[in-house]
Each structure stands twice: as structure tokens, then as C-alpha cells.
């Protein structure tokens, strides 16, 4: 990394990806236009790379893949990133597209993400043959709500794409870095004690983060104090809800017609939400499928009332104590993404603020395409006012490219050319320990949780966990139950929790393999050590008194059998 000329920020998005870069000697951040096939045989450089992969007859990434997917959905991989964070499936197994017809190869969410990154790498390397991406400092953004496994899988995808080991950065933080990068006078715009809420609503996901402005030795500091859960809810859901509303008026609508309606409703919605637009409805005509264009045309319109009704469903004015409806889990579920059951973004926001015990924000930073609409931004501010906050929006950022730009700015900040947000790891981590109680048939022995990493543990630090040693058998694999929590922030390493509440989420188990050195079945006493690498990766190690160390690895495949 020593000879890197550029820092490169990659926003690996659910529906769109972007790349921005900064020359380390110049220091200003620029967006990179990404060449991609947009029509057969036509390559064009576009600001965004649609995160779609079309599989046959050859792998195709970007705009043309997206278009092809509308015609033949079974060959299209979409939302790979949402699958990457879905603990209910084996994310390294070839499962996408779920509805692939016979003979169409499937591909794993990790491999699909790697394809997008490989496309970006190829495009970059062609434009900068003297400075290939693999030898630049690369920062890849992930949702703040990504757990440790999803982060590791993102890194695995980067490695498969030949990017080495990039640094990971949380998207809402990146959006905030972009704002800081744009406003050299940002220190005059916020003050000590301010709390900045980052609301990021993309095509498929919603993410919240709170950043506090603090002070140390007279200088302003930024500290990320809370991150929200992973919510699979975004602009695509809104557009689909609008399309369904219009389709209900038309009567029978085929799947292909609904697709056309979906795309038309997105455009019509943007028009209706534009404050300059004064009409009450926008036509969303579905053209006839065959050569009989006019004869087969279905005439429909999206009205202002439709939009406000659907928006009311997604952004209702709720009380600050409201909680989203609980996910009801059917015993047998079709394999699919765990979409949010409650579509109300404002209710998810109320939950984020209350479970984290946060004070109301003083500022709001918006990010993501949905928030282009002033009406949506105003509704979120209105909800915050209703809860008693007088939050002001931080304006002036490009909602689609902010994350990639912010990531590049963060790269500069790591070289001491800008402020860094102090954040550390976004969750606390625990190891499950089975209580030694007399066995009762039919009851699993209760599990207690032993804290090994605390929320906010900083990059580049390590800690030996006091108070507990384990006896392990050399030559046999040992397995550990792992839990995490974004809410419990005060559990210092070594704390033991007796009651496992909903606040703890179980992750795939971790394994450690002890190579048998001489005699088999040697027992060794170990204690735990937690390391957060410079790139923000959490590592757990077993350390023997004689200094031998073994690293624990997530067992992604294991979970599926359970």
C-alpha cells in the first residue's frame, strides 16, 4: 500500500454502485464514470453501475444486465447485497437467482458481489493502467447494520475480485464524511453537544446512525454513538406499492405489465413529489406488448392522492414510543429475503432512538435516492418535531454519490488530511457458555453470554479478556456460540450475562482448529484476546499461557443445517 497514488471509495450498493477517488498528492475527491454496456454493443460511461448481474449467455454487469433482467428475471441476480447479510441461508453457496430456470447456473451472493467489484476494477484499470486498483488504497462501504459475518463476506468478495484487503467503512459515516468534505467551514455549522442523525434510505435498505459532536483538548471531535438494525425496506418497496395501487384499478395485469408499471410509477412519483409540479396526476400508460401498440395500450394515471396515501403508509406520523410490528415467523418459510414486516420507516426510526436510549437529534443528514423528494425529508423532520426535537437538515450533498465520495474523503482523512469520526466496532460481541447444571431431559442447558468485545472498541486496538479461562483439547476442532448486540453498549469485556434477552442476536458459530503438534488429546488452558484490525475487522484469538495463538473463524455453512 506504500506506493498507492490514489485513495478509492467504492459504494457497493444494493441497487447501484459508485466509485469516487482522490489523488493523494492533490487531495480533492472526484467521481469516476463507470463504462458499462448499456445496449448491445454500446458501451457508455455512467455515474452509477446498477448492481445487477445477468448470467447467460455470458456474465453481464450493469445497465444492460438490468434491462435484460426485466425481460428474463430467472437469469438475473439482483439485491445480492441483501442476501449477503441474510443469516438464514448459506451465503457462500450458489443460490442466486432463487428462481433460476433449468440449466441456468446459480451463483453465490459473495460471487455476485465479487462480479460487481471485478467490473469496477477492470474499468478502473483500463482508465489508469499506470495505477491499477489492486495497488491503491481502497475503501469499500457497508451498511452500519452489517454484522461481522456480512463484513467478512464483503471482504471475501473483494479478495475474489482481486482487490486484496480493502478497508471497510459504514455507509452513514461515509455520507457524513462527504458532507464534511464539501463544507470546509463545517466546524461553524455544528457545535459541541450536537447530535447528528444520519437517515439513509436506499433502493432496498434503510439505515440509521447517530453521530455526536464532542470536544477533546479544545478541538471538535465526531463520535458515532449508535447504529440501527438492518431494515430491508427502501425506495423499490414504495414504487412497487404505487404500481400495485394503479394495477388494482386496471383489473387484470400480467407480470410483464406490472414491471412496466413499476418503472413508470417511479418516474411519475418523482414528478408528483417535485415541488415545481402543480398537476394532480401523471399518466402511467402501459403500451401494448405486441406490434399492436395503440390497440393494446392500457391507460392509467398515478394521482397525487395515491402518492400521499402510499407515503402515509411508509412515513406515518407515529408516537416516539411506537414500535414496528413484530416479525411473525411461519414455521415453514419460502426461501427469500427477510423483508421488514412493518413498512413504516418512521416507526423504525422511533425504535432506533428509544432502544438505544438516544437523545433527540439536533441535525439530520439525509442520504439515498428516496430522500430526493423534499416532501419525504419534510415528513421525517415533522416526525422528529412531533417527538419534541428541533432538528435542522444538513443540506448540500449529492444523495446518490455521497457514500462513494465520503469513502474517498475518509481515505484522505486516514492520511491526516481531514477529521475522522471516532466509531470503533458497531456492536458488542459475546461467546455463549453452557452452564454446568445437571442435565434435564428435554431441556437444553441454559446458555450464558460472556462479553469479549465492547461497542466502540477502536480500530487498531487489542485486549486480553480477563476473568475466564477455557480448557481446550488440542487436535480437535472447538466450536463457540457467538452473539452480538447493537443495543448493549456498556458490557465491558469479561462481563457475564445470565439471561439472554432479545437484545442479543445469535451469529453463525465460530470454530478454531488446533493443529495437533506432538501427542494427541493434549489439553491446553487458553484465554481470549480480541483484536480490531486497522481495517476495522474484528478477530477473536485463543491464547495459551506459552504464547501460542489460534484464530477463531466464522462457520458460515454450519447454520443452515440447524
Amino acid at each position: 500500500m506504500g506506493d498507492a497514488r490514489f485513495v478509492v471509495g467504492i459504494d457497493l450498493g444494493t441497487t447501484n454502485s459508485a466509485l469516487a477517488f482522490a489523488d493523494l498528492s492533490a487531495g480533492s475527491v472526484e467521481a469516476f464514470a463507470i463504462p458499462q454496456e448499456v445496449n448491445p454493443g454500446e458501451i457508455r460511461a455512467e455515474a452509477l453501475l446498477p448492481s445487477f448481474l445477468y448470467l447467460l449467455p455470458e456474465r453481464l454487469v450493469g445497465e444492460l444486465a438490468r434491462k435484460r433482467g426485466v425481460e428474463s428475471a430467472g437469469r438475473l441476480v439482483a439485491s445480492a447485497k441483501s442476501w449477503l447479510s441474510h443469516a438464514g441461508v448459506d451465503r457462500t453457496e450458489a443460490i442466486l437467482p432463487i428462481a433460476a430456470p433449468e440449466g441456468v447456473e446459480r451463483i453465490s451472493p459473495v460471487a455476485a458481489s465479487a462480479e460487481y467489484l471485478r467490473h469496477l476494477r477492470t474499468a478502473w484499470d483500463q482508465a489508469h493502467p499506470e495505477a491499477p486498483l489492486a495497488s491503491q488504497e481502497v475503501i469499500v462501504t457497508v451498511p452500519a447494520s452489517f454484522d461481522e459475518v456480512a463484513r467478512e463476506l464483503t471482504l471475501r468478495a473483494a479478495a475474489e475480485a482481486g482487490l486484496g484487503e480493502p478497508t471497510l467503512l459504514e455507509e452513514p459515516q461515509a455520507a457524513f464524511y462527504a458532507w464534511v468534505g464539501r463544507h470546509e467551514d463545517w466546524r461553524e455549522r455544528v457545535a459541541v453537544g450536537d447530535r447528528i442523525l444520519v437517515v439513509d434510505i436506499g433502493g432496498g435498505t434503510t439505515d440509521f446512525t447517530m453521530i455526536a459532536v464532542t470536544e477533546q483538548n479544545g478541538a471538535l471531535q465526531l463520535e458515532r454513538v449508535a447504529v440501527g438494525e438492518h431494515i430491508l425496506l427502501g425506495g423499490d418497496n414504495i414504487d412497487l406499492a404505487l404500481a400495485r395501487t394503479v394495477a388494482a384499478r386496471l383489473g387484470r395485469v400480467s407480470a410483464a405489465q406490472l414491471q412496466q408499471l413499476w418503472a413508470n410509477c417511479r418516474v411519475a412519483k418523482e414528478q408528483l413529489l417535485d415541488p415545481e409540479f402543480t398537476g394532480d396526476e401523471v399518466p402511467v400508460t402501459i403500451l401494448g406488448r405486441g406490434t399492436g401498440l395503440v390497440g393494446g395500450t392500457l391507460k392509467a394515471a398515478l394521482t397525487r392522492a395515491d402518492v400521499s396515501q402510499v407515503m402515509e403508509g411508509f412515513f406515518p406520523l407515529v408516537e416516539s414510543t411506537d414500535m414496528p410490528a413484530r416479525q411473525s415467523r411461519a414455521a415453514v418459510q419460502e426461501i427469500g429475503l427477510p423483508y421488514a414486516t412493518d413498512a413504516a420507516v418512521t416507526r423504525h426510526l422511533a425504535k432506533f432512538l428509544s432502544v438505544n436510549g438516544l437523545e433527540l437529534p439536533t441535525h439530520v443528514l439525509f442520504n439515498g435516492g428516496v430522500l430526493h423528494a423534499p416532501a419525504v425529508r419534510e415528513r421525517i423532520l415533522e416526525a422528529l418535531r412531533h417527538w419534541g426535537a428541533s432538528a435542522r437538515p444538513l443540506e448540500g450533498e449529492d444523495l446518490m454519490q455521497a457514500v462513494a465520495r465520503g469513502a474517498a474523503y475518509y481515505g484522505l482523512a486516514r492520511h491526516g488530511r481531514g477529521i475522522r469520526i471516532r466509531g470503533g466496532i458497531p456492536r458488542s460481541y459475546y461467546i455463549g457458555i453452557q452452564s454446568s447444571v445437571p442435565a434435564v431431559p428435554g431441556f437444553a442447558p441454559p446458555v450464558r453470554a460472556f462479553a469479549v468485545a465492547q461497542f466502540g472498541m477502536e480500530e487498531g486496538s487489542d485486549i486480553r479478556i480477563p476473568g475466564r479461562e477455557f480448557s481446550l483439547v488440542i487436535g480437535e476442532p472447538a466450536e463457540f456460540q457467538i452473539f452480538s448486540s447493537a443495543v448493549r453498549k456498556d458490557d465491558a469485556p469479561g462481563t457475564m450475562i445470565d439471561d439472554l434477552t432479545d437484545e442479543l442476536e445469535e451469529l453463525p458459530s465460530m470454530e478454531v482448529h488446533f493443529p495437533a503438534s506432538s501427542g494427541t488429546h493434549e489439553r491446553v488452558r487458553v484465554s481470549f484476546e480480541t483484536v480490531v484490525t486497522e481495517t476495522g475487522l474484528l478477530q477473536l484469538w485463543c491464547v495459551a499461557p506459552d504464547g501460542r495463538r489460534w484464530k477463531l473463524e466464522f462457520n458460515v455453512r454450519e447454520r443452515i443445517a440447524a
Binding site: 463504462p35 445496449n39 401494448g288
Partner: protein, 172 residues
């Protein structure tokens, strides 16, 4: 993958140097690499009509223009024709603006007196009571249209340009 990579390299070579490197030409099979001397220029493979067919194909692909003009619309109401025309208008307009740079010949206000920028009858047509020698100006009735630039994608020899839209068969 190698095809995409090749396409990228061609793209950037054209972008930065305005021409393909000998290596790229060889990979594309435009001439054999062993011949150090460049091959004599091949006879033009592109016919003049190809560009017209290509543009028609694009307008059909993006805006369904052929479907519209080749359909008998006599039986349909103005309302129905209107809503179809409206939804085609956007995509067709976008395609024209993307692949051609079109500008008025005279960028003036129609209905006002303007100077003729040229004596070329292809550019300026005089109407009405026109004297034997062309006057220096007149009342602007139509601003005219001229193509300033063409950005149509390069055609590959394999492409069958006479198929303006493929037939579509759906598999249930």
C-alpha cells in the same frame, strides 16, 4: 470476461487516442499481427443506409416508433392514440438527443426578422416574394434543424442491421 475487457480497452483507446492500438486491432481480427506493415485499408463495409437503419432500430427499441407508425390507428380514439403518443414521446426524444446533437439552423425567435447566416440553399430556404438575388434576411418562419454531431454506437460486422427489432417469444 475477456470480451468485456476487450470492449473496455477499445473504449478507452478510442476515448484517449481516437484510434485503436495495433494490438487491439489484431485482437479484433482487423488485420493479422504478423504483418508489421499495416494492411491496405479495407473497402468500406458500412453502407450509407446502415446509419438510417441503425437509428430506426434504436427508436423502435427505446420508443416503439415503428410499432406506432406501422399500426393502423384509424379505429382508435384520439384519447387512446394520444396517451400512446405521449408515452412514446419521452423515450424517442431522449434517444434522438443521446445519439445525435440536433440544433436549430438559425437560433432565433420565429416571427421576427433575422439575417440569413448563409447563402447555401440547403441551409436557408427563402419563401414568398423572393427577388432574383437572394436577400440578406427575412421573417423567420421555421428555425430549421441541423445535426451537429452523431454519436451512434459503432456497428460490428456481425450485426444484422436489417432486423430492426427481433421477434419476441415468451417461455411460460
Amino acid at each position: 470476461m475477456s470480451k468485456i475487457s476487450l470492449a473496455f480497452r477499445c473504449f478507452f483507446a478510442m476515448l484517449s487516442h481516437g484510434q485503436l492500438t495495433p494490438e487491439l486491432m489484431a485482437e479484433l481480427g482487423l488485420f493479422r499481427k504478423k504483418d508489421e506493415k499495416p494492411a491496405p485499408p479495407p473497402p468500406p463495409a458500412v453502407k450509407v443506409s446502415d446509419g438510417a437503419l441503425q437509428l430506426l432500430g434504436i427508436l423502435q427499441r427505446d420508443g416503439r416508433l415503428l410499432d406506432f407508425f406501422l399500426e393502423d390507428i384509424a379505429a382508435y380514439s384520439d384519447d387512446q392514440v394520444g396517451s400512446a403518443a405521449r408515452s412514446m414521446h419521452g423515450p424517442c426524444r431522449e434517444a434522438l438527443n443521446r445519439y445525435l446533437t440536433i440544433a436549430p439552423v438559425i437560433d432565433g425567435v420565429e416571427g421576427t426578422f433575422v439575417q440569413a447566416p448563409s447563402k447555401d440553399p440547403a441551409m436557408v430556404k427563402f419563401l414568398g416574394n423572393v427577388p432574383a438575388t437572394a436577400p440578406s434576411g427575412g421573417m423567420l418562419r421555421h428555425r430549421g434543424w441541423a445535426v451537429k454531431d452523431v454519436h451512434l454506437p459503432a456497428l460490428t460486422p456481425k450485426q444484422n442491421i436489417t432486423v430492426l427489432a427481433p421477434a419476441e417469444l415468451e417461455v411460460e
